[in-house]
């Protein structure tokens, strides 16, 4: 296991200025410049350091439980008449892919001499993954979470608190993920020296989208090796992953970006329908703009005010998308699809009954689009099963009672 460092010459990876095509950059107020600049100047050197790589790989193996299995889902494959593999990020410690990134960033924060860790969280998965690594390393941890989300994700709030984190409600704006991110950024402005901000997705100012993508790139690195062993070729025909901000998709796509024979299929949350007014399908509904210091596609009013998205899964409930994904959309490299709340629920129950795996609602969005790919029996399809469904039992129970 090693972190991808050399991506020069790629059409799809970040360039030296921090852009993916016309997207990305660091649209930060001056108050954040020293923090972000410190990261920008140091992250590649730290990531490339053999000692860092070794510690990262060791923790991913012994603490997270990597490599996560690549499982040939037989009954699912029979149903969709293709060879469907599930990348089992749901089996990671803490239950999702988020921990790959928090392990990487906590090691980076230690090397930068930071004593205090802040994070934002929506559903609480990234908050839990951050609180977990802070407990592991004995660092102070503050997690910002929208007060609306605190109410609907009580078990994850309790997990973070048990892990020793302080959970601070974001009470501004719409009181969800976007506002939790605002509050975390404000905390960083107010604590510029001793604090590291662990962003949970491939969003925010450069170098975050690239740094988070590199930590998550372990997903596609393993997929390649595992497919080689199982099929004799490292290349699948399709890779599917759900996209909110897009970190599991960035990780699952990373090592295939320049292999254009591999079809990349990000699946966004359509909520109650793309045009229902209750959706989070950013590539369909967004226009270029600046959110959380990154130029990307985002859902906004005609006047440039950011719009509150909707999805049944709190992890996809974000009005923007990482700049890498905006670039993949603009260039046509990836084929963006979306799934509604109901389709995601249906796919979650289907996987549970066919394979005995209860997936997270987020990951279920990707599963929901298997039926639309016109698959051939010889096709090799990898679906990134980004998380497990324990956190969604409340929603699943309600659905069963209908």
């Amino acid at each position: 296991m090693e972190i991808a460092v050399n991506t020069k010459g790629s059409k799809y990876h970040v360039n030296e200025k921090g852009y993916y095509g016309s997207f990305g950059g660091a649209y930060i107020p001056e108050m954040l410049y020293p923090n972000v600049e410190e990261l920008r100047q140091n992250y590649m050197q730290i990531l490339g350091d053999p000692g860092f790589q070794q510690e990262f790989a060791q923790l991913l193996k012994d603490y997270v439980g990597r490599p996560s299995p690549l499982y040939l889902a037989k009954r699912l494959s029979e149903k969709y008449k293709a060879n469907i593999y599930l990348k089992r990020e749901d089996l990671n410690h803490t239950g999702a892919h988020k921990v790959n990134n928090t392990i990487g960033q906590i090691l980076l924060a230690q090397r930068l001499g930071k004593k205090r860790i802040i994070a934002e969280t929506g559903a609480g998965q990234h908050g839990v993954a951050t609180a977990t690594v802070c407990a592991l390393m004995g660092l102070e941890c503050i997690v910002y979470m929208g007060s609306v989300d605190i109410e609907r994700q009580a078990p994850n709030v309790a997990r973070m608190q048990m892990l020793g984190a302080t959970v601070i409600p974001a009470t501004s704006g719409s009181r969800t993920l976007k506002d939790a991110t605002n509050e975390a950024i404000r905390d960083w402005i107010n604590n510029p020296v001793d604090t590291h901000y662990i962003i949970g997705s491939v969003v925010g100012p450069h170098p975050y989208p690239d740094m988070v993508a590199r930590f998550q790139s372990v997903i596609s690195e393993e997929i390649k090796q595992q497919l080689q062993e199982k099929t004799g070729s490292p290349y699948p025909d399709y890779v599917l992953a759900c996209v909110g901000g897009g970190s599991n998709a960035a990780g699952a796509f990373f090592h295939f970006l320049d292999d254009e024979q591999v079809q990349l299929v990000p699946v966004e949350a359509a909520g109650k329908g793309v045009n229902s007014g209750f959706s989070a399908a950013t590539s369909q509904l967004g226009k270029p703009g600046v959110i959380h210091a990154s130029k990307t596609l985002l859902m906004q009013t005609e006047d440039g005010q950011i719009v509150e998205p909707h999805s049944i899964s709190a992890g996809l409930d974000y009005p923007g998308v990482g700049p890498l994904h905006a670039h993949l959309y603009e260039t046509g490299r990836a084929r963006f699809l979306n799934a509604t709340d109901d389709e995601a629920l249906e796919a979650a129950f289907e996987l549970t009954r066919l394979e005995g795996i209860i997936p997270a609602l987020e990951s279920s969005h990707a599963l929901a689009r298997l039926k639309d790919l016109n698959l051939k029996p010889s096709d090799v399809v990898v679906v990134c099963l980004s998380g497990r469904g324990d956190k969604d039992m409340g929603t699943y129970i309600k659905h069963m009672q209908k």
């Binding site: 108050m31 410049y33 020293p34 506002d179 404000r186 440039g304 005010q305």
Partner: protein, 255 residues
């Protein structure tokens, strides 16, 4: 000559710049607030263009933005309100806001409207220096608008020099590493203010963030050409019944 430059040419100390969110407390209060600010002795006016996600601002200014947006404020509406403001208002006026609404309006169209209505300068905290230099500088210059950049206690001397070289009008010195409206002690910032003063920048310097009353205003003025008050002013007017009287009293309490 730009009105900001005219002001600093005639007055070098104790300049009072007051921030208020456009369309606040009520939608049509923009001009009455500006008129009262000028009448009661503000030297400069900073008008906030409300945004849903103002990252550099604390809760008071964010709440004022939310209220202004609920009132129906938008850039289109703002330029309608500002159409004839130069008939009565002569002090320099700066628009402060975040990049996204400006991008959606169209940057050139926005600058054109600023110039046409009589706005003198802009503060866009999330427009980085590099972007400005690479993409936008000629446009700002074409329309004669000054873009004002921020420096903070964490800004290195080399970068302060770069910012000074690129700035027009004045340099905005953020008093402490914070969002707006944080109650941080001004005394702790003396070394930073002295360092800034000793750099002898080509631009005048106004200090902002945490300036809320006469003692903090005087403390800031001791090291700079003046100061900017935002949060304290918003708090004073948010529930004001008599806007003009409240503004008069507020300015008298500071100056």
């Amino acid at each position: 000559m730009n009105r900001i430059d005219q002001l600093f040419a005639s007055k070098q100390t104790g300049i009072l710049n007051i921030y208020c969110t456009a369309g606040f407390p009520a939608l049509e209060d923009t001009l009455p607030v500006m008129t009262a600010l000028q009448a009661h002795g503000a030297d400069m006016i900073e008008l906030g263009m409300p945004f849903s996600d103002p990252l550099a601002d604390g809760p008071v200014i964010q709440d004022s933005s939310t209220r202004a947006l609920q009132n129906g404020m938008s850039l289109k509406k703002l330029f309608t309100q500002l159409k004839d403001f130069r008939k009565n208002i002569h002090v320099p006026v700066i628009l402060m806001g975040y990049l996204n609404p400006v991008m959606q309006f169209g940057i050139e169209q926005f600058l054109q409207q600023c110039a046409a209505t009589g706005v003198d300068g802009l503060i866009l905290p999330d427009l980085p220096m590099q972007e400005y230099e690479q993409e936008y500088r000629p446009l700002f210059e074409k329309y004669g608008l000054h873009l004002i950049f921020l420096v903070t206690p964490e800004t290195s001397e080399a970068r302060i020099r770069q910012i000074d070289a690129l700035s027009k009008g004045f340099v905005y010195a953020v008093s402490s590493s914070s969002t707006t409206g944080k109650d941080k002690d001004m005394k702790g910032q003396q070394a930073y203010f002295e360092r800034l003063k000793s750099l002898q920048l080509k631009n005048p310097v106004l200090i902002g963030f945490g300036i809320k009353d006469k003692p903090t205003f005087d403390a800031a003025c001791a090291y700079s050409n003046g100061a900017i008050i935002g949060t304290a002013f918003i708090k004073a007017v948010e529930n004001a019944k008599d806007l003009d009287g409240t503004i008069k009293q507020f300015i008298q309490s500071v100056k």
